[in-house]
């Protein structure tokens, strides 16, 4: 007897929990395909109308600008897949960036900067995870509170002043290129690859989807709900630490404390949601998030190229989020019906 095909051995309701197959239908059906289509159409139109859009420099500008969004987006994807959300990433980024900047001012080397950034980010994420996991409070409330507390922390660390004269020790993270692509973007892709493997192929990675699909069922099925919850917020914190290196590397010698990471959480959440991760949890992929981040970056870049008032960009991003979430729900309903 042949080994039973796992995908068909379970009723359809559990299909989401299993690694997907890669048939033609899946590819066409996947959100990734539609984002690529939108990107191609946008890029073609902009390249024809505005020649400056299609230069390698501009492409690298876009990738560099969204590298931080993509890196943190990988963690945010995991958080949202478990049914949570983390709105504190912008403030956490500013705390990490300020601490790293201050260490660099004191003459820290690259290695110390990396260690400090990751340690601070992970610690912040761990606090989020513990409060949400142990306190069993909805993540929006905890991370909303943390958003404000962390903002005060970064303000107090510098006494409200800008950091100036930051040495260019970690500039490679922010502006270096490797094989003609920004180094930061390679980091993002590496993080996404690891996360993709973990979420597709590791049992505990699959648990994240189970948790988002139905936490109570997941618990009864033996998923370590508390452990997974703490894990996703902690890893998001770690990735914020990594992103802060990219930020400090790209910021040059001055860090404007109060401005760091303002609105960053919207970009990250937009990238994740546009990338096809369901805000209700239980569904999504990091590949979609990378593409979503590129789309967000392309739109912001296009507004500059086309010379639209930059005040409009949040309006357009807000509408885009609403549109994609609406489409996602319509599609879900169509399937259920």
């Amino acid at each position: 007897m042949a080994t039973p095909n796992r995908t068909h051995a379970l009723p359809g309701a559990f299909a989401d929990l299993l690694p997907p197959r890669f048939g033609l239908r899946e590819v066409l059906d996947a959100r990734e395909a539609s984002i690529v289509a939108v990107l191609v159409v946008m890029a073609t139109a902009l390249s024809i109308a505005y020649p400056q859009f299609r230069t390698l420099d501009n492409v690298n500008n876009i990738l560099l600008a969204v590298a931080q969004v993509a890196i943190v987006g990988v963690g945010m994807t995991m958080v949202i897949i478990t049914g949570g959300i983390d709105v504190s990433v912008g403030s956490a980024l500013s705390v990490c960036a300020v601490v790293v900047g201050m260490r660099l001012q004191d003459g820290a080397g690259v290695l110390e900067a990396i260690v400090v950034a990751i340690a601070v980010g992970t610690a912040i994420g761990l606090v989020n995870g513990l409060l949400i996991g142990l306190g069993r409070v909805h993540s929006i409330i905890i991370t909303f509170g943390m958003l404000n507390i962390l903002r005060v922390v970064s303000f107090k660390l510098t006494g409200g002043k800008w950091l100036s004269g930051v040495p260019n020790t970690v500039n490679y993270f922010g502006s270096g290129t490797l094989l003609k692509l920004p180094f930061a973007w390679w980091i993002a892709m590496a993080m996404a690859a690891v996360a993709w493997y973990y979420m597709r192929r590791r049992p505990t990675g699959r648990h994240l989807y189970a948790l988002g699909g139905n936490p109570e069922t997941a618990r009864l099925a033996g998923v370590g709900v508390l452990k997974r919850t703490i894990f996703v917020y902690t890893i998001t914190g770690t990735l914020v630490g990594v992103a802060s290196l990219v930020f400090v590397g790209g910021a040059g010698s001055v860090i404007q404390t109060a401005q760091v990471g303002i609105g960053f959480e919207l970009d990250v959440i937009a990238a994740v949601v546009i990338g096809g991760t369901s805000i209700l949890g239980g569904k999504g992929s990091v590949i979609g998030t990378l593409l979503g981040a590129i789309l967000v970056g392309t739109i912001r870049n296009a507004l500059v190229v086309v010379n639209v008032n930059s005040l409009y960009s949040n309006l357009i991003l807000g509408c885009l989020i609403l549109l994609t979430v609406a489409l996602d729900l319509l599609r879900r309903r169509g399937r259920l019906a």
């Binding site: 909805h138 409330i141 909303f144 507390i149 609105g263 005040l311 729900l329």
Partner: protein
């Protein structure tokens, strides 16, 4: 040693019972906290415990107090309902009001009425996406938070509209040291919302919806309409706040509502509104408003850097949310 003689039944005052009382009766807990807070600042901060200061400081609680009531109405409907867009709605409604009285030269009262309707309309946008289209409130109001503030900034090009009619400032004057907006706006709004939630069929529908939406549907609750209404009322209250804030600053500012959503949600949660829906009432939310407002006032008078107020808010939000969750689990309220 064992006392077998019939005991006089005494009211049992044990620590678990006291704890239970304080956790279940949020009003009692807040009254005690408020007493402690007033006693603390009265003894440490000069000029805190005077009638003019206590009454005058309520002026700063009117805006967030009304928005906290808006959050109460929205959050109580459950299913993760929350309105993150209240701050931006206030900003956009302020700008709308400012444009009406300056560019379109409308007189005060028609402009006020149109602004209230405009707020209602903005809330209806949220209501449409959440109730009719069925999208999660969190993502809808996060999107409109950015969209509305973006529109407010674009319309004014980030410059406040300062030539509003002087008659508007009358609202920010005092009556026997009591701010007029407290008397003329806040107290009536409290009374109206209290009656709405407590004594009208619609108000009871909101609680039913938040406790169990499916059961409410079987009980013939107009679920979609009720949920839509909650967001629309929230938008309407944002319109009210837009007028009050324009009067207080004597200008319509495109950033009038920045950060107000944090304060409003913090106050609602401190006031015992459960984020899971179905639990919450007007009196504790009003007490929580008083607590936050007086704490900010006390911190100002104690010369504590204003930035700490933001940290205190964040901490209070997390602390009271943990407390709510603990109380709900332990005593199975809902």
């Amino acid at each position: 040693m064992i006392d077998l003689v019939a005991r006089r039944p005494r009211p049992q005052i044990s620590w678990p019972a006291v704890l239970r009382f304080l956790l279940v009766e949020r009003t009692a807990l807040l009254v005690i906290l408020l007493g402690g807070l007033i006693a603390f600042y009265a003894s440490t901060a000069q000029d805190f415990f005077t009638f003019s200061n206590l009454a005058g400081s309520t002026a700063f609680g009117v805006e967030v107090g009304i928005l906290a009531l808006a959050e109460l109405i929205v959050i109580v409907t459950g299913r993760g309902a929350i309105d993150l867009s209240v701050g931006s709605t206030v900003s956009l409604a302020s700008v709308f009001f400012g444009e009406l009285v300056t560019k379109f030269g409308l007189s005060l009262w028609p402009a006020i009425i149109l602004t209230l309707l405009f707020g209602f309309g903005l809330g209806s946008i949220n209501g449409f996406f959440v109730a009719v289209a069925g999208l999660p409130a969190l993502i809808v109001t996060l999107a409109t938070l950015f969209a509305f503030s973006s529109v407010a900034l674009v319309i004014t090009n980030t410059i406040p509209i300062s030539d509003v009619p002087p008659r508007l400032y009358d609202l920010a004057l005092y009556w026997h040291q009591i701010p007029r907006q407290t008397l003329l706006v806040y107290l009536p709004v409290i009374a109206l919302i209290y009656v709405l939630l407590r004594f009208t069929v619609y108000g009871r529908h909101l609680y039913g919806l938040g406790t169990n939406a499916l059961a409410a549907r079987f009980a013939a609750t107009p679920v979609v309409l009720a949920r839509f209404g909650a967001f629309a009322i929230s938008g309407f209250l944002c319109g009210v706040v837009a007028i009050v804030t324009s009067a207080r600053f004597a200008s319509a500012r495109p950033d009038a509502g920045v950060g107000l959503e944090l304060q409003a949600i913090t106050i609602a949660v401190l006031g015992g509104v459960a984020i899971t829906g179905g639990v919450g009432a007007v009196p504790p939310v009003v007490l929580a408003t008083l607590l936050i407002t007086l704490n900010n006032n006390g911190m100002n008078l104690s010369n504590i850097d204003q930035i700490w107020q933001q940290a205190a808010l964040g901490g209070i939000l997390i602390g009271s949310a943990l407390l709510n969750a603990f109380a709900l689990r332990r005593y199975r309220l809902s």
